[in-house]
Symmetry: C2
Subunit: 349 residues, 2 copies
């Protein structure tokens, strides 16, 4: 058998039942508010539970219910400020709803599937994918086990996964309008090689938004950073000769880190925003608000993303068959120094 716990033996529902003078069943019902229990029994159970310091064994509970109070979260490179902000919001939302977060870090898109598998082994109540693209087959496995999967800011992975996504189109449009209103006549889209899906979508949307603004395609240049992050943006600015002398250039970046790196590198070259060019980033991470950057940026409402993602899980748990949805979340343009708010002054005359 098992070695008896030499210290404090675990308190079980059985112990509570004994002390309260009722059966395990009553204890279970009383404590989980399921089924009917007389007020007196309930009181006695609660008293006994408190007295013994009883705590439900979630493993046993989950085993029986075939579902744990766990929600799986997949994330990559938590050191990226936007990701940590998002995960922070997710943790809050998850706990606010009475769940616990099971977090796995992936270093490679491939690992997403493995993470999902491990989540199912814990019978999680749902999965939130914030990085990586899970193979449709594995998502289906989850669905078959009645485990809803939702992605944040990613492409739909087949017809089984819901997605909550910041409105990249609107963001690109806001950026394009702002840059045009600010008088830019030449444009650059900055992204990195092997960008995420969201980054690519933003680029496409920016191109489209410029067209809508009446900008001819030849006035948009694409700049590929050799890598992601601050360093990528920094290098991108070094390795290219950006500015046409005649026209103010408006630059839109796939994310905040790229924008910060780009800006620093440009400054090192003696060029600054908004005098020499305009710059708008995506994400509105804390650093973009710092005095040294004051970056105009597209703000993502992370709390909203998190909340909608969890709502989505709940909904899908109820209606497993319903078609997968894409739920948009509004974005906002935050005016800061690298492309200041344009007042109506041009219309004054």
């Amino acid at each position: 058998m098992k070695a008896p716990n030499p210290n404090k033996p675990t308190v079980t529902a059985q112990d509570v039942a004994r002390l309260a003078g009722v059966s395990r069943a009553v204890v279970s019902r009383a404590l989980s508010n399921n089924g009917s229990v007389s007020p007196q029994s309930r009181a006695r159970v609660e008293a006994a539970a408190r007295q013994l310091g009883y705590q439900v064994n979630f493993l046993a509970q989950g085993l029986n219910r075939q579902r744990s109070q766990l929600i799986g979260v997949v994330v990559a490179r938590l050191t990226d400020p936007f990701r940590s902000t998002l995960v922070n919001a997710l943790l809050s939302a998850i706990q606010a709803r009475g769940y616990q977060a099971l977090v796995t870090e992936i270093t490679d898109e491939q690992e997403t599937g493995l993470s999902l598998r491990r989540f199912t082994q814990f019978r999680v109540s749902g999965v939130v994918v914030t990085s990586g693209q899970p193979p449709e087959s594995i998502v289906r496995e989850c669905i078959e086990h009645h485990i809803p999967v939702v992605g944040i800011n990613r492409a739909q992975s087949g017809p089984s996964m819901d997605v909550v996504c910041s409105d990249n189109q609107a963001g690109a449009m806001l950026a394009a309008s702002q840059l045009c209103a600010a008088g830019c006549q030449s444009f650059i889209w900055l992204n990195y090689q092997g960008s995420t899906w969201a980054g690519r979508v933003r680029g496409e949307a920016f191109r489209h938004a410029l067209t809508v603004q009446g900008i001819a395609p030849e006035y948009l240049r694409e700049l590929q950073a050799p890598q992601d992050g601050y360093e990528g943006g920094f290098l991108a600015a070094q390795h290219s000769n950006l500015l046409r002398p005649q026209a103010t250039t408006g630059i839109f970046c796939a994310n905040a880190l790229l924008a910060c790196g780009f800006l620093d590198s440009m400054r090192q070259q003696g060029k600054n925003a908004p005098t020499d060019f305009h710059l708008i980033g995506f994400d509105n991470t804390p650093q973009t608000a710092w005095e040294s950057y004051q970056l105009t940026t597209i703000h993502q409402q992370v709390d909203e993303l998190a909340a909608k993602a969890l709502d989505c899980l709940r909904e899908r748990a109820r209606h497993p068959e319903r078609a997968a949805q894409v739920i948009p979340v509004a974005v906002e343009l935050v005016h800061r120094r690298t492309s200041p708010c344009v007042t109506e002054q041009t219309d004054t005359l």
Copy 2:
């Protein structure tokens, strides 16, 4: 009873046993490499398991073993770059050792205890506290349930919790030496009101280190930011008249965010490092390396902190009775622009 799964019924060890023509017991042994199994049986079990796509139910496994493959992590404000870096390292280390991370975010020191309780309900294999101070009583509860608890960068919470801690004394000494060698004659210690334990220790150690360097106490001033973070540092610099005209001031900050905010605010006032003052931060977060800051800083080896924390859990699981330890992790001075490396030139003459 339970509603039968309408889709794919869960594959259990029983199913594998049936297909392999052996008993559940053999399946368990074969798959967990426990007990003895004939090579042939093993092969058949493995084949059957693969064929059926069998996955162990961790809930059942944990219930039986009285221990899950979970490790609890307590963290606050994940948006702080140092915290997210540390948690990132912890996640990697946890997964590298075959565990899964159960993460709880606390917004208040008080919640630490509640988090630990919930961890025990999942029969976690260990707990890592990176924020907050768990009440000694609850830590003891954990220990009594054979759940080791380790803190990172915090005070020992009674005799039951091990602690892994960056060497704040050494860090302060490195900072003091550097500032002195750079010619500073007047010093400021910048921290925020209600600082963490680590911050306070660094302050004390800095004071001591200056004494060792032969600096009289009256040349050290303490500056209290009204809050933590970038904003706190920014405000601290605004609300105080820092520099004596005669002597170069050396400033040491409790953390990186304070330092960045402080630096930006000083610049706004027309003062910059290292010309007008010297500045050294703690943590070496990614942003301190950015071109706009290039902050000289004390580097914490997060991977080392994470690795030692997990080693510690393992050790304590083996020896529950052993006295609690404090395990130091070395820090390094990273020379950057706000207090550049001092060459031997002063000795040349």
